[in-house]
């Protein structure tokens, strides 16, 4: 497996040494003196009334220090980033098996777990709505006061019905996508420590420290100023730790016992309560003229929301927005509906609804190409957006030629199978491509605050601070590399401060591929004033003209004096008083008032080769080539890692992963039956090709690449399977049984 990226200066990531030596303390590794251990009682049923809760027996167990229920929540007994509709503790009804009913703090995890068994909850089971279909029936029981529809989203342009009449080729298909587990290796957990002022410090992973502070403040009924959130390092998140998980329980228990309380979910507990990727059913009808130009595209999306809202509406909006992807379609009608069920809560997950909708869109392109007998590249080119076309919701976006650059590169890669694989009696080979377009940032109409701070601290370090978290994605490297590049200092001069609400500025969430953009844009705004402040200080102190001074490694340099800094940062720090620059701005957003519309987009293309085993129906991916257009690379290893890692995560979604639920219960509870890709599933022949050029005049800099690698691989694999054995898969993960049925029905298997 080799990197095709051009050689760039590359540094060891700032957290690297502590990670490879195992010395990094994750928040779930922390212990404090006098610490207690917490456990949360989750619902026994997917849907039931709670008739009574009796905690007396649990409280009587020696070693149990507190047992809390809804009665013990001083503030609002709800959480949820958009709409707080998820009970911290259920009062009279449970809506999914992850619903919390009580929490225990005890001397040990074992005692806490034992205590849970002695909490007596009397339920009256209710009808289980385990699919959107059931929830949408007119007589279905209401899961929430306003009914069972969480959110509707739509977009329309032109007249699809009329346009279909003019179409020469029409393809209609329903695509079904499963629920996916984030499967971060570190399960949710951390410690909440009560502070002397009556407040708390929360040491627990999240992707937006200030949002956690806000939500926890609402639950505890204490001001945000009394809550400090230490939110990283994080052992993986991928969107999954964005919403509240254990924080409310550890916080309430810590305040109740006045002692530090640790909660660390087991994998089973994690799977039971955590959010997942939305299962979606997407029905699409697409029509073209005889040349392959799309005239009409009609899309219906049904998302299984599960029991509570979290970021579900935004995910659906994103799917609706990306229904046309990078294609210009004159007549389009997209309708999305997100439906509450008694299944596990669906929420934010890397790709954010783009993965599902792109599978459907690219599936349509390939099916139409087959019907029209056009090359899959050609049909895409015919419909592809150009540099200044409007965005997919008819809104203005930053000009970009990423779509055509990616398609061109993919075309060069896609001529044939990479190796001379020969079909054999029991093996067939195929190749497939797909492309995608993906919005970064939260979109129009959403509070998308960005910002940062740079300062020369007392130790003479250039301290750069953002309200972001290091989840593993490599944000620390991005910050370090950009500071060195923009300020001109050395690696040793940089001190990075993130992941602690008591010391960081507001930067918004570490989500939506927005971090890299914001770090770069913040530095563009801050570097001038910061350099000015330092040079002015040196100039005032030494009467050397400011224009002759500049920031360099280890200090402020003077033009013409090349043997070292004129004044070191440390010397400068001893006297300087005005040494801090702050910036705060809104993430770049489209000027057009379209809900959720994005402004900055990245593009991705994938070419894969696969082998289909005719005896087992197994699909093996032999090679993956990624093509990415996301602006200049900031951190080469981080960039490759995001694309390769994102690709493999979606390889899992395509071939292996389905967090199946039966009657509202998870059918799998751990990695023994929920299989994520291991090293055997991954082709060593994986390459990342980066297109770094942005259009002339682009002033938005490098874009984040956290999500773009997860999208196009899904339809590319499915097309490659079609290329190999001639069958279209429309339901993921690709089922061996379905493949075998196809092989049999086509009579492809020749028995000797």
């Amino acid at each position: 497996m080799k990197s095709k990226l051009i050689e760039k200066e590359d540094r060891i990531r700032p957290d690297g040494l502590s990670k490879v030596t195992g010395s990094l303390q994750y928040l779930t590794d922390l212990t404090f003196p006098d610490m207690l251990y917490g456990k949360v009682l989750r619902s026994k049923y997917p849907h039931a009334k709670i008739l009574s809760i009796n905690t007396e027996k649990a409280e009587a167990i020696p070693g149990v220090e507190a047992v809390l229920t809804y009665k013990d929540v001083p503030g609002m007994n709800r959480f949820g980033i958009i709409i707080p509709d998820q009970p911290v503790f259920c009062e009279d009804r449970v809506r999914y098996i992850g619903d919390a009913i009580a929490a225990v703090a005890a001397q040990s995890f074992e005692i806490a777990e034992e205590a849970l068994k002695h909490i007596e909850v009397v339920y009256e089971e209710l009808q289980i709505l385990d699919s959107p279909d059931k929830s949408l029936r007119p007589n279905a029981i209401r899961l929430h006061p306003a009914g069972n529809i969480c959110h509707r989203s739509s977009y329309q342009n032109g007249d699809v019905q009329q346009a279909f009449e003019e179409c020469v080729a029409i393809v209609e298909e329903t695509y079904e996508l499963p629920r996916q587990l984030h499967a971060y290796m570190e399960t949710e957990g951390g410690v909440v420590v009560p502070e002397e002022n009556g407040g708390i410090t929360v040491y627990a992973a999240t992707q937006h420290g200030f949002k956690d502070r806000f939500q926890i403040s609402r639950i505890l009924g204490i001001p945000e100023s009394m809550i400090r959130i230490v939110s990283n390092p994080i052992g993986g998140s991928f969107g999954g730790k964005d919403e509240q998980n254990i924080q409310p329980y550890a916080s309430l228990l810590a305040l109740a016992t006045k002692r530090p309380v640790k909660i660390h979910n087991t994998r089973q507990e994690s799977i039971r309560a955590s959010i997942k990727r939305h299962p979606m059913k997407i029905t699409v009808k697409t029509g073209t003229d005889s040349t392959g130009k799309i005239l009409a595209h009609q899309v219906k999306i049904i998302a299984d929301k599960g029991a509570y809202t979290t970021l579900g509406p935004a995910v659906l909006d994103f799917s609706v927005e990306h229904a046309a992807g990078p294609y210009i379609i004159p007549n389009i009608e997209t309708e999305g509906i997100s439906v509450y069920t008694n299944n596990g809560v669906s929420g934010e997950f890397r790709g954010f609804g783009g993965n599902q909708i792109t599978f459907a869109l690219e599936g349509q392109m390939d099916r139409l190409a087959e019907v029209l007998k056009i090359d899959p590249i050609e049909i895409r080119r015919k419909n592809l957006r150009t540099t200044t076309d409007l965005g997919p919701l008819g809104h203005r976006i930053a000009p970009t030629d990423g779509a055509s650059l990616v398609l061109e590169k993919v075309q060069k890669l896609s001529k044939q199978l990479k190796k001379d694989y020969k079909d054999s009696l029991w093996k067939r080979y195929g190749t497939g491509i797909a492309i995608t377009m993906h919005g970064g940032g939260l979109g129009f109409g959403r509070l998308d605050s960005a910002g940062g701070r740079i300062s020369l601290n007392k130790q003479g370090e250039i301290e750069i601070s953002f309200g972001f978290e290091e989840c593993g994605q490599g944000l620390l490297s991005v910050i370090e590399n950009l500071v060195i590049e923009e300020i001109g200092c050395s690696q040793q001069d940089v001190k990075i401060v993130i992941g602690d609400t008591s010391v960081v500025p507001i930067s918004g969430s570490s989500t939506a591929s927005r971090g890299t953009s914001i770090v770069w844009q913040s530095l563009q705004k801050m570097k001038g004033p910061f350099k000015e402040k330092l040079c002015k200080y040196v100039s005032d102190a030494t009467s050397i003209c400011k224009e002759e001074l500049y920031l360099g490694p280890y200090g402020i340099w003077k033009v013409g004096k090349e043997d070292g800094p004129f004044m070191t940062y440390k010397e400068c720090a001893e006297g300087i008083v005005d040494q801090t620059v702050l910036t705060s701005f809104h993430f770049p957003v489209t000027p057009d008032a379209v809900n959720g519309g994005h402004f900055l987009y990245t593009f991705g293309g994938v070419k894969v080769d696969v082998e289909v085993d005719l005896l087992s129906g197994k699909v093996k991916v032999l090679s993956i080539d990624h093509v990415i257009s996301a602006g200049p690379i900031v951190s080469p290893k981080g960039y490759i890692g995001q694309i390769e890692g994102g690709g493999v995560m979606s390889l899992g979604y395509t071939l292996l992963e389905d967090m199946k639920m039966i009657n509202g219960q998870y059918a799998t509870t751990n990695f023994d039956s929920y299989l994520i890709p291991n090293i055997v599933d991954v082709p060593f022949d994986t390459n990342v090709f980066a297109i770094e050029d942005l259009v002339e005049g682009d002033s938005y800099g490098p874009r984040g690449v956290g999500e773009i690698g997860t999208i196009a691989i899904i339809p590319a694999v499915v097309k490659a399977v079609h290329d190999a054995i001639g069958c279209w898969v429309s339901k993921l993960p690709i089922s061996s049984e379905e493949i075998l049925e196809n092989i049999e029905s086509k009579g492809m298997l020749t028995w000797i």
Partner: protein
Amino acid sequence: MDINNTVLHNGLTIKDKQTINLNLMINGEKYILKTSPTEKLVNILRDQLQLVGTKISCGIGRCGACSVLLDGDLVNACLVMAYQVNGKSITTIEGIGGVSIDEVQEAFLLEGGFQCGYCTSGMIVAVKYLLSMCPNPTEADIKEALSGNLCRCTGYGGIIRAVQRLANANNYSKDID
């Protein structure tokens, strides 16, 4: 309620848990511990000894985050119980490398063999074991040796490059010998 009569799911009671004296070597240091004979090794390491470099992720031997060497063999510390390690020698991530870092750790740094780092301790221990058995592993050797260690971040690319870097180096040093 009398806690002594409380039977835990693992068949032991809370207070009158049977304990054993455990003698073991961890990263070259001798330890004598009092513990339940069925306590998991991963809990002994993390909770009793604060050796938290060894991680816990699935708890059922499927992810390899808790990989350690037990008398030189690669094991999942979540599947090994206290009584099984009495008198034995264990190497955790904290025992890999010494004054300077080990070549495997260095290769992971140079090739981007990690992101969040949570699988990394176990992965590095597993790579150490692979290279001790097979200094110049083929693709098939690498797949076989690391198939028990899950990584959700990297897609294994950086890990593969790290191992191949070491394999090539070993190959090279063999050539010049």
